[in-house]
C-alpha cells in the first residue's frame, strides 16, 4: 500500500474500494469517520479554551483574562492579540474562538453584574472594501440595493433566478478565493466539483465582476514595478519577494500584496471606528468601554441603562464612519453595515435591529 505513481491515484483506488463495499459497511464507516472528526475538533476546543482559560485565571488569581494587543503582530496592520499574559503557554487567541458550537464556549466571557456585553461585527467587510477600491460597479450595486451579495453573485454567475444553497456557497467561495488569490484548482478542491466546471465558473466570474480583475491586474503590475503595495489609508507593505527568480515565491508575494490592500483597509476602518466610538463614549459621559476587537468586530461592555445611547454612538461610528471622513476625507461607494448583538455574555447575544440609526431595544 502507499506506492502511488502520482497524487490522484490514491483517490481513484479509494473510490473503487468504497464502491466494492456493502451499503451497511459504508454507513458504519461513515458514522465512524464523522464521529472521529467531531471528537478531534471538540477535544481541541476543550484543550485550547477551557484548559487555557482555567490556567489563565489561576495564574492571574482573579476571574479575568488579560489580552495583549499587538500593533506589529501582522503585516497587514491587523491587530493581533497574542496571549493572555507573558506566559505563552496560556495563550488563547480570540481570533479562533468558534462562533457556533453546541456548547457555547464564547459564553464564558461575560459582562460584570448590571452590565451587558455588546458585540458589533462589520458585515461582509472585505468584499465591501474590495468593491470600493476596485470600483466594481456590479458588486457595488448589490451592496447599494442591500441585496444578499452571495445570492446576487450566484444569480449572475449561473444566469438564473432561483439559486440553490450549493450554488450560493460556490458563489461565496469564489468571491473569497479571489480576495485571497486562489484559482480554479482551489475552487474544485473546496467545493468538490470537476476542474472544468470550476474553470468555467471563474471565467464567468470575470464577466460578472470585470472590475475586480482589472484591479487585480493593476495591483499586480504596481507590485512588480515597485515591490510594495499600499492601502487607501497610506499603509505600505514591502514585498521584496516579488523580485525573486522563483515563480511560486513571486506569486505568493502578489497574492499577499492584493490581500494586503483589502485586509489592511478593513482593519484600519475598524481601528478608526473604535477610536471614534471610545472618544464619543467619554465625551457623552457614558461608562461604556471597549473590551476587545476580533477581526472585523468590536466588543463593548456597558451598564444596562446605557445600552441605547451606546449602541446609537457605536452604530453611527461604524456605519457612517465620521472619523474616517473627517481625518482622511474618504467616502466609500458602498454603505457599510454591521450586525450588533447584545447579551449577558460574549456568546448569548441577541441581534439588535436598527431603524434610522437608532437601536430597537
Amino acid at each position: 500500500m502507499g506506492r502511488w505513481q502520482h497524487r490522484d491515484e490514491g483517490k481513484k483506488v479509494s473510490k473503487s474500494v468504497v464502491g466494492s463495499k456493502t451499503t451497511q459497511e459504508l454507513q458504519d464507516a461513515k458514522h465512524f469517520l464523522k464521529g472521529l472528526l467531531n471528537l478531534r475538533k471538540s477535544e481541541k476546543l476543550a484543550k485550547t479554551y477551557i484548559k487555557g482559560t482555567r490556567n489563565a485565571i489561576e495564574y492571574n488569581e482573579t476571574n479575568k483574562v488579560f489580552v495583549d494587543f499587538r500593533f506589529d503582530g501582522t503585516s497587514t496592520g491587523r491587530l493581533s492579540c497574542a496571549a493572555y499574559n507573558a506566559q505563552k503557554a496560556m495563550g488563547v487567541s480570540f481570533h479562533t474562538l468558534p462562533r457556533e458550537t453546541e456548547t457555547n464556549i464564547r459564553s464564558i466571557f461575560t459582562a460584570p453584574e448590571g452590565s451587558v456585553f455588546i458585540a458589533a461585527d462589520y458585515a461582509a467587510m472585505e468584499l465591501r472594501v474590495l468593491s470600493h477600491i476596485a470600483k466594481e460597479g456590479n458588486m457595488q450595486l448589490a451592496f447599494n440595493e442591500g441585496a444578499d451579495l452571495h445570492t446576487y453573485t450566484a444569480r449572475l454567475l449561473f444566469n438564473k433566478e432561483n439559486i440553490t444553497k450549493k450554488e450560493r456557497q460556490i458563489a461565496k467561495t469564489v468571491s473569497f478565493l479571489i480576495v485571497y488569490g486562489g484559482g480554479p484548482f482551489n475552487l474544485a478542491e473546496t467545493m468538490g466539483i470537476p476542474m472544468r466546471r470550476a474553470e468555467k465558473i471563474i471565467d464567468n466570474y470575470k464577466n460578472v465582476y470585470p472590475g475586480i480583475f482589472t484591479y487585480m491586474e493593476f495591483v499586480n503590475e504596481f507590485i512588480k514595478t515597485n515591490a510594495y503595495a499600499y492601502s487607501i489609508f497610506g499603509r505600505k507593505r514591502n514585498l521584496p519577494d516579488v523580485r525573486s527568480k522563483d515563480r511560486s515565491v513571486v506569486n505568493r508575494a502578489l497574492r499577499q500584496g492584493l490581500n494586503f490592500t483589502i485586509q489592511s483597509t478593513a482593519s484600519d476602518i475598524l481601528l478608526c471606528s473604535l477610536l471614534g466610538a471610545s472618544r464619543r463614549f467619554k465625551d457623552a459621559g457614558l461608562k461604556a468601554r471597549p473590551v476587545a476587537t476580533v477581526h472585523d468586530s468590536i466588543e463593548i461592555i456597558c451598564p444596562k441603562d446605557e445600552v441605547k445611547d451606546t449602541l446609537t454612538i457605536l452604530y453611527d461610528e461604524m456605519v457612517n464612519y465620521p472619523t474616517i471622513k473627517e481625518t482622511f476625507n474618504i467616502h466609500f461607494d458602498v454603505p457599510l453595515a454591521i450586525d450588533a448583538e447584545v447579551g449577558k455574555s460574549f456568546g448569548d447575544g441577541k441581534i439588535i435591529e436598527f431603524r434610522k440609526g437608532l437601536p430597537i431595544v
Binding site: 500500500m1 502507499g2 490514491g10 483517490k11 483506488v13 479509494s14 473510490k15 474500494v17 468504497v18 464502491g19 463495499k21 451499503t23 459504508l26 454507513q27 458504519d28 464507516a29 461513515k30 465512524f32 469517520l33 464521529g35 472521529l36 472528526l37 471528537l39 478531534r40 471538540s42 477535544e43 476546543l45 476543550a46 477551557i50 482559560t53 482555567r54 485565571i57 492571574n60 476571574n63 479575568k64 483574562v65 488579560f66 489580552v67 494587543f69 453546541e102 456548547t103 457555547n104 459564553s107 464564558i108 466571557f109 459582562a111 489609508f233 497610506g234 499603509r235 505600505k236 484600519d268 481601528l271 477610536l275 471610545s278 472618544r279 468601554r289 471597549p290 481625518t327 482622511f328 455574555s345
Partner: protein, 113 residues
C-alpha cells in the same frame, strides 16, 4: 501613513491600554459548566466510536498507527483505501484525508440511492 499614525494609531493606544488594563471577565461557573458539557460530549462520542465493529477496546483513537489499522489494514475491519499519504509515505489519517474518504462514501451512497 503619518496621518494614520498621528491621528488614529497613537490616540487609540489609550483605548487599547484601557482594554489590556481592565481585562475581560470570565464567569467561573459558566467555565466549569461548559467544560463539563464538552467533556461529557467528548466521552459519549468516544464511547460511541468504541462500539463500532472494527474498533478494538485496546485501540487508542488518538494514535495514528492504531487509526491506520482500524481504517485501512485490519482484516475484517473497514479495509478502506487511504486517498492520500503522508510525506513519509504512510497512509494518512489527517482531517482533510478523512473528509475526502467521507466524501467518497457519500458519493457512493448517493449513487446507490
Amino acid at each position: 501613513m503619518y496621518k494614520l499614525i498621528e491621528k488614529i494609531v497613537m490616540p487609540s493606544l489609550e483605548t487599547f491600554a484601557d482594554m489590556e488594563y481592565h481585562g475581560l471577565d470570565v464567569d467561573p461557573k459558566v467555565l466549569e459548566t461548559v467544560g463539563r458539557q464538552l467533556n461529557t460530549k467528548n466521552m459519549n462520542e468516544e464511547d460511541y466510536l468504541y462500539t463500532c465493529k472494527s474498533v478494538k477496546k485496546t485501540d487508542n483513537l488518538s494514535s495514528n498507527n492504531d487509526l491506520i489499522e482500524v481504517l485501512y489494514t485490519r482484516e475484517g475491519g473497514m479495509e478502506l483505501f487511504p486517498p492520500d499519504k503522508t510525506a513519509s509515505g504512510k497512509p494518512s489519517v489527517s482531517a482533510p484525508t478523512l473528509k475526502l474518504l467521507l466524501e467518497h462514501i457519500d458519493e457512493e451512497l448517493a449513487s446507490r440511492g
